[in-house]
């Protein structure tokens, strides 16, 4: 009884052992595979991935495009996020309200709506025809609002005692910003920002709606030709996991390190 309990129940304190972890991970995976397998059986589908080889160049291009969109958007959304976090604390009321409205609107509406709205109305009116450029801008504006909240949260949690200590040792405002606020904010926001990068990668799939030829759009095109819908999307999922799993892993590691430091 005791052995069974140790195998399947997490102890109230401390960690469960490695063997229990492996066994239960296997059981959970088997369950997921079984549900999928039974579902596929029920609708009489058999997987055949042989066609993937012939599309490898297009798939690779789509993969690279997703990475490019992701990385460019990460940088641009960081800039937007920093500016609007700063703007939300501005003494200029019009700037403060502008940033508040921006963050509230973006966080309160779905990305797909924003993509259509910005691309077809704003994009057309202002003559931004390059789909990569408009895609990156739309995605960055969307993610920027979330990053603004991450940064604002970490600014608010900046302990007063640290700022007082900075003044006490004789730092000027610039020195305080450079030697105290920035380094502490960077370690504090890094885990959340890394996690946000995973979101950017996933959210970039919606840019397929405006025909940015990234991973999802590539798969949509391939599946439109060979009707291998299940295989295409299954493989697409794997490709996204290849990108997001390492990022999540890094994010978790950073989080643990940050917790230790505080």
């Amino acid at each position: 009884m005791e052995i069974l309990r140790n195998l399947f129940l997490a102890p109230k304190r401390g960690n469960h052992n490695l063997f229990a972890a492996a066994l239960n991970m296997l059981l959970a995976s088997c369950f997921i595979v079984a549900v999928f397998w039974l579902s596929l059986k029920a609708i009489n589908v058999e997987f055949d991935f042989t066609f993937l080889g012939q599309f490898r160049i297009r798939l690779w291009k789509g993969f690279v495009m997703t990475l490019c969109v992701g990385i460019t958007s990460l940088f641009l959304s960081l800039v937007i996020g920093c500016l609007s976090a700063a703007g939300q604390g501005s003494r200029l009321l019009v700037v403060r309200y502008f940033c508040n409205i921006y963050v509230t609107f973006i966080r309160g509406t779905p990305l797909i709506m924003q993509i259509y709205l910005f691309f077809y109305i704003v994009g057309t009116a202002w003559g931004i025809e390059n789909r990569f450029v408009s895609g990156v801008i739309i995605l960055s504006v969307f993610e920027g609002a979330y990053i603004a909240e991450i940064i604002r949260g970490s600014l608010l949690s900046m302990a007063d005692s640290q700022l007082e200590a900075a003044r006490a040792v004789g730092f000027t405002r610039q020195q305080t910003l450079r030697h105290v606020i920035l380094p502490q904010m960077i370690t504090r926001t890094m885990p959340a920002l890394t996690g946000q990068f995973a979101s950017i990668i996933k959210d970039s799939s919606l840019l397929s709606m405006i025909s940015v030829i990234e991973m999802t759009q590539t798969m949509r095109e391939i599946s439109a030709v060979n009707f291998r819908l299940f295989e295409c999307y299954f493989f697409l999922g794997l490709l996204y996991l290849c990108l997001t799993l390492p990022i999540s892993y890094i994010s978790k590691r950073l989080e643990r390190r940050f917790q230790y430091e505080n």
Partner: protein, 245 residues
């Protein structure tokens, strides 16, 4: 160091007066500020240190007025050393860097000289094996010793300590108070806000009793403890003695 202030007061909100207008003028070597919690001790220390501005009144240090201007205040703070109740160290820096950074950035030391000075102090305070540790990896007592090392590193004219031992276990308290007493013997001037009455009485020349935002008594420590004049101080001291061994 001569400290003078006239009509000094502090109000935080419209109805929350922490310090009522008070005057003071004396040469300070070692001064303990004592009194019940919420009496304005820490606020007074921070005003003297230029960390917060008084609502009214003027402050003079060695005859020169400390004007309420950020540049003047920064110059004023440079000449002082601060030790806070807790978490006064920069969390993201090692013990060594906590001392080195202000020396280099504020006091114009070269990196090598700053490190030498920091090592000298850390060794003296028994922290040689902890130089690379972040504050979170140090015990409360070790943190306060690093904080004192940082405060005295640039040889300040006056050390300001705000309840440096109130967050510590008794064994660490003694070790921190010993260090402060040692510094006194080397001629360091300091003002300490403290609840350690033994330390105030035996290690400080003068004692100021602050209660309800007023400077109720001030004088030589022996006199303050043996012949308290006001009812408030008598009550305060008798309360403290209630549980003494």
């Amino acid at each position: 160091m001569k400290i003078e202030f006239y009509g000094l007061s502090k109000q935080f909100d419209q109805d929350r007066t922490v310090l009522k207008p008070m005057d003071f003028s004396d040469d300070i070597h070692t001064l303990a500020i004592i009194g019940p919690s919420g009496g304005g001790k820490s606020t007074l220390l921070r005003i003297i240190g230029g960390l917060i501005l008084p609502s009214s009144g003027r402050l003079y240090v060695d005859g020169i007025e400390v004007q309420p201007d950020e540049k003047v205040l920064q110059q004023h703070r440079k000449k002082l050393g601060f030790v806070f109740q807790q978490s006064g160290l920069f969390r993201h820096l090692s013990a060594l860097d906590n001392i080195v950074l202000p020396l280099v950035e504020v006091h114009g030391y070269s990196k090598i000289k700053a490190e030498q000075r920091a090592m000298e102090l850390l060794t003296r305070f028994g922290l040689t094996s902890d130089i690379d540790k972040k504050p979170s990896a140090l015990s409360g007592g070790q943190q306060q010793r690093v904080a004192i090392a940082r405060a005295v590193a640039a040889k300040p004219k006056l050390l300001l300590l705000d309840e440096p031992t109130s967050a510590l276990d008794p064994e660490y308290t003694t070790e921190v108070l010993d260090i402060i007493k040692e510094l006194k013997e080397e001629g360091m001037n300091f003002i300490i806000v403290t609840h350690e009455m033994g330390f105030a009485r035996h290690a400080c020349d003068k004692v100021a009793f602050l209660c309800e935002g007023m400077l109720m008594e001030y004088g030589r420590s022996e006199t303050i403890f043996t012949m308290p004049e006001t009812e408030q101080l008598q009550r305060f001291l008798s309360k403290l003695l209630e549980w003494n061994v």
